[in-house]
């Protein structure tokens, strides 16, 4: 491998932007470098489902031309980024990690893709993911597993595993993912990058393939807090095509970024530190909390008594919505169709039997059951009540603190195959991230250091008040500045 220090691919978006502006680098150069890096590493890493070299080079060239004219569109202009394959890209196959969408070429761009392009970002490809974003290890991809760049024997987390792995492995400078129950934050933590799940409604979901509509949210992954913030700033904001998107103006997240942690009240949920977190992970998380105290923040114990019901409620609500959202994959209008089937019912059955992998099937069945006549009140409705109670827990907690802090996941990245046969263990990987989605709050995962024995990244999770992403960024930046950047992952 080429000596790393010389590579422009190690730069943050912030630094790359400076070099591009100063004409010390061109987008064509860095895009070429990114494409070569993908070419060289992705056979082992498996982060990409589709690379778009021609489109990327053309976009890079156009970006350089804008720079030459002094017409740069944004700090993202010319920056190579990747997209989880859940975002619709006009003219470019989009599969959502599923066989059932193999060959589906969308006729339109997702709103966030439009916005990234409008900011000048160079999209280099579509990233691997768990099928329909259902999973915590990327092992549910119908096409291939994705590996953790810190240790190729481990998972990158999921479902946005490809996004986290590609950013960590220096294949791209930033990426977009989606987070329904932790699908950005967990892989970000496992791969040692920053990942943000914004407040529900902060980013448009138009053109984002739906898993669980009331929980899904688009967010950025980057190698620094600044990099994540700048991406969010350019994709967030109201979209008339998504009626659940908020009309609140998007603040300039970069403005107060260096405000530090002095005076910040950090809520530490009692329930999150009562066992269940692996000792080394807990040590790193507690270390991060101690760092905050040193920086002048105040730690406040808070209680989230209903968060223990989070996983149960989530695995009723998310499958219920998914069972409905996945009904459109019926072989009639797009994607896979069982052409040899006789009659309508058989075509439906065979198409879905062949097209969906085990996890979507499991969740369709769970969700269909939870919504069935006679069970709705006991399952779906009760889960909605739990959701309300969880939100109230947070409302109460935020009376005493500005952010809530804790682990992202109970462990560091686990081994490929370790949990693949035990769905319940896999579901429990999301135990700390799920409540944030249920409560529609913003959450962020920032590297807190390396596990003392495993030498793998551990993430700190920060949760904020609705639409208060700015405070999360400021708090995360304070920690990042203090502990410094993680080394480049050694596995690739």
């Amino acid at each position: 491998m080429t000596p790393r220090a010389e590579s422009p691919l190690d730069l943050t978006i912030q630094e790359l932007g400076r070099r591009l502006a100063a004409k010390e680098l061109s987008s064509v150069e860095v895009t070429g470098a990114a494409l070569r890096r993908i070419e060289a590493t992705d056979g082992k890493l498996g982060a990409f489902l589709r690379v778009m070299p021609e489109e990327a080079r053309a976009a890079a060239k156009a970006s350089d031309a804008r720079r030459a004219r002094g017409d740069a569109l944004s700090p993202l202009d010319g920056v190579p980024v990747g997209l989880k394959d859940i975002f619709l890209t006009e003219g470019v196959e989009t599969t959502c990690g599923s066989r059932i969408l193999e060959g589906f070429v969308p006729p339109y761009d997702a709103t966030v893709v439009e916005r990234l392009r409008a900011a000048g970002a160079v999209v280099v490809g579509k990233l691997n993911m768990d099928e329909f974003a259902m999973g915590s290890s990327n092992e549910n991809s119908a096409f291939k597993p994705c590996h953790n760049p810190w240790d190729l024997a481990r998972t990158p987390g999921g479902s946005s595993g490809g996004s986290a792995a590609a950013v960590a492995a220096r294949q791209v400078f930033g990426a977009l993912g989606t987070d329904t129950g932790g699908s950005i934050r967990e892989p970000a933590a496992f791969c040692g990058v920053v990942g943000v799940k914004p407040t529900y409604g902060r980013v448009s979901r138009y053109g984002v393939i739906a898993f669980a509509s009331s929980l899904d949210q688009v967010g950025p992954l980057g190698r620094s807090v600044w990099d994540a913030a700048v991406q969010l700033r350019h994709v967030a904001g109201h979209d008339p095509r998504d009626m659940t998107s908020s009309t609140r103006p998007v603040p300039d997240y970069l403005e107060g970024l260096e405000g530090g942690a002095n005076g910040l009240r950090i809520g530490v949920p009692r329930e999150w530190f009562q066992g269940g977190v692996e000792a080394g992970v807990e040590k790193v998380v507690r270390g991060a909390l101690a760092t905050y105290e040193r920086l002048g923040a105040k730690l406040v114990e808070v209680s989230l008594p209903h968060s223990r019901y989070g996983v149960a409620a989530y695995y009723l609500l998310a499958p219920a919505e998914a069972s409905s959202n996945l009904a459109r994959y019926d072989g009639v209008r797009f994607g896979l169709r069982a052409r040899d089937a006789k009659g309508l019912r058989e075509m439906y059955g065979e198409t879905r039997e062949r097209g969906f992998g085990p996890e979507p099937k499991r969740r369709i069945m769970l969700g269909t059951y939870a919504l069935s006549a006679g069970y709705y009140d006991a399952y779906y409705l009760r889960a909605q009540k739990v959701r309300t109670l969880i939100r109230r827990d947070f409302d109460r907690a935020f009376e005493a603190c500005d952010v809530v802090a804790g682990p992202v996941a109970p462990t560091v990245a686990f081994k490929l195959g370790e949990k693949v046969d035990d769905p319940l263990q896999m579901y429990l990987a999301d135990i700390f991230t799920i409540t944030c989605n249920l409560a529609a709050l913003p959450g962020l995962s920032v590297p807190a250091g390396l596990h003392p024995e495993e030498r793998l990244p551990v993430g700190l999770q920060l949760l904020g008040r609705p639409f208060d992403e700015a405070t999360l960024f400021r708090a995360a930046r304070a920690l990042e500045r203090e502990i410094g950047a993680l080394p480049a992952p050694a596995g690739i």
């Binding site: 975002f87 619709l88 989009t94 959502c96 969408l101 589906f104 969308p106 006729p107 339109y108 997702a110 979901r205 138009y206 053109g207 984002v208 393939i209 739906a210 669980a212 509509s213 009331s214 008339p240 095509r241 998504d242 009626m243 659940t244 219920a320 919505e321 069972s323 409905s324 996945l326 009904a327 459109r328 019926d330 009639v332 209008r333 797009f334 309508l344 439906y348 269909t368 919504l371 069935s372 006549a373 709705y376 779906y380």
Partner: protein
């Protein structure tokens, strides 16, 4: 026990397509009759990633309808997904309303055999229409799907089981349809399916306290079919219940070719629609300001218009009811008055012609008021020709017939066909003299006291003048010549 010992109980569910220009959740056109799938986009095709974006006009139409029918308009209502698989349903679910619909309560008033009736409404909710499956469209025998209609906005208007006869059901539907058309929210077309109806039918012994088990009847796209279907179904149920059997709750399809209903799916086979709140749409909030704004701009409804015609124009309840049943006819009436004069006499005249000869022609030709070649101005012109004595009754009918069919100018028709009435006393007198001379014995009888023979003489003179003699002049001359 005969049929007459049983009481039929009917509740109706009407699906009315709303006359918005674009669909409920996207900007596609709602126009009828385009090439299959011409009016589609990623949203109404249900492609991955799309989200619904509510057409506010649909809400306004729903509120307008709710206010007109005296419903409670809910400040907050909820969208819901109704889940089922069918090729014409692109998303695999229909966006509808379930637990909290936009309107509750209200009623539909109508007259039945001269008596005032009202049927209570349960609810009104908004939803999207499905597309259509097209069979036998391709040489290999495969079917196609046309999604032009998918996403066209619908109001579902559900009545309480207050209806006790087919006649009542039909009058209810006619009244509801007239109201929707007056409101400008629906075109009332049963054949094209923009106004559709399902019926819940049960029977019980007269005087019984509890309703029988109901069946839902679908596929009745005319009042005639509704009558056939409900009558068949009631008879079928009585034949089951009468000897002690039990009606199975099920959905039944009307077969117009056989005039029968047949089982479509039983209660056990009924879809479990797995309704749940639509997460892609926030709860619908209808604020007071919007409700008040819509209330202020509600148009006059059929029954208010009929009352006004009675009050201001002195029309009979019967005439007023006929004129106002179809908004286009009522507007034709008003417009004719603006040409012909607004007094009670003029109104009575116009009403007689519209409800009489014009209605007959409309019936014969099968043309709705909107499609007539006859214009209010021309009808007024014909009445003016009568009023001025230029043409008489028979002439006027002939003129109307031609104008109705061809749209010709009435004056031109009168001239071309020589229908103008003869008022020249000299010419008429000659005809009178001829008639009296030719019927000497009748003249004898008349003078002998058979005064009712005057009609015979008038008829003969009219015949002599080919119907063009002015009847008043003929009468006066005959009286004079016959000596009183």
């Amino acid at each position: 026990m005969p049929l007459s010992d049983f009481q039929v109980v009917i509740g109706l569910e009407v699906h009315a397509q709303l006359l918005t220009r674009s669909k409920i959740f996207c900007g596609c056109s709602t126009a009828f009759g385009a090439q299959p799938n011409a009016h589609t986009c990623p949203v109404c095709l249900g492609l991955p990633g799309v989200l619904p974006s509510l057409n506010r006009r649909v809400v306004e139409f729903a509120v307008r309808t709710g206010l007109a029918l005296g419903c409670t308009v809910k400040k907050k209502s909820i969208w819901a997904r109704k889940n089922y698989f069918y090729p014409d349903l692109p998303k695999g679910y229909q966006i509808s309303q379930y637990e909290l619909p936009v309107c509750e309560g209200g009623s539909v008033p109508f007259a039945l055999e001269g008596k005032e009736r009202t049927v209570r409404l349960t609810r009104i909710h908004m939803e999207e229409d499905a597309g259509k499956n097209l069979h036998d469209v391709s040489p290999d025998g495969s079917s196609g799907v046309d999604l032009n209609r998918a996403g066209v906005p619908l109001l579902e208007i559900v009545s309480e089981p207050d209806i006790r006869s087919v006649d009542e059901a039909i009058e209810y539907l006619k009244s509801l349809r007239a109201i929707l058309v007056y409101l400008g929210v629906n075109d009332g077309n049963l054949e094209e399916g923009s106004f559709r109806c399902d019926a819940n039918v049960s029977v019980m012994r007269k005087g019984a306290a509890a309703f029988g088990t109901r069946c839902e009847i679908k596929n009745m796209n005319s009042f005639r079919f509704l009558r056939q279907a409900v009558e068949y179904e009631a008879r079928r149920q009585v034949e089951i219940v009468e000897p002690g059997g039990k009606v199975l709750q099920e959905t039944r399809l009307f077969d117009p070719a056989r005039g029968e209903t047949r089982s479509m799916r039983s209660k056990e086979e009924a879809h479990d629609y797995r309704y749940f709140p639509e997460p892609d749409l926030p709860p619908l909030v209808v604020d007071d300001a919007l409700v008040e704004e819509i209330r202020r701009t509600l148009p006059e409804l059929p029954r208010a218009r009929a009352a006004r015609y009675q009050r201001e124009l002195g029309l009979s309840a019967y005439d007023a009811g006929l004129l106002t049943a179809d908004k286009a006819v009522a507007e034709f009436f008003d417009s004719t008055l603006s040409y012909h004069g607004k007094g009670p006499e003029a109104a009575k005249r116009v009403a007689n012609w519209l409800n009489g000869e014009v209605a007959k022609l409309a019936n014969e030709t099968g043309l709705e008021a909107g499609a007539w070649k006859l214009t209010p101005e021309r009808l007024a012109a014909i009445l003016d020709l009568v009023g001025s004595g230029t043409i008489g009754g028979p002439g006027a009918k002939a003129v109307l017939d031609e104008v109705f069919r061809s749209g010709a100018d009435p004056g031109e028709v009168v001239e071309r066909r020589g229908l103008a009435q003869v008022s020249d006393e000299g010419a008429i007198e000659a005809a009178v003299d001829r008639v009296l001379a030719a019927n000497a014995s009748e003249v004898e009888k008349y003078r002998g006291g058979r005064k009712n023979l005057i009609g015979f003489f008038v008829g003969q003179v009219m015949k002599e003048t080919r119907g063009k003699a002015h009847p008043g002049v003929v009468n006066a001359l005959l009286q004079k010549k016959l000596g009183g």
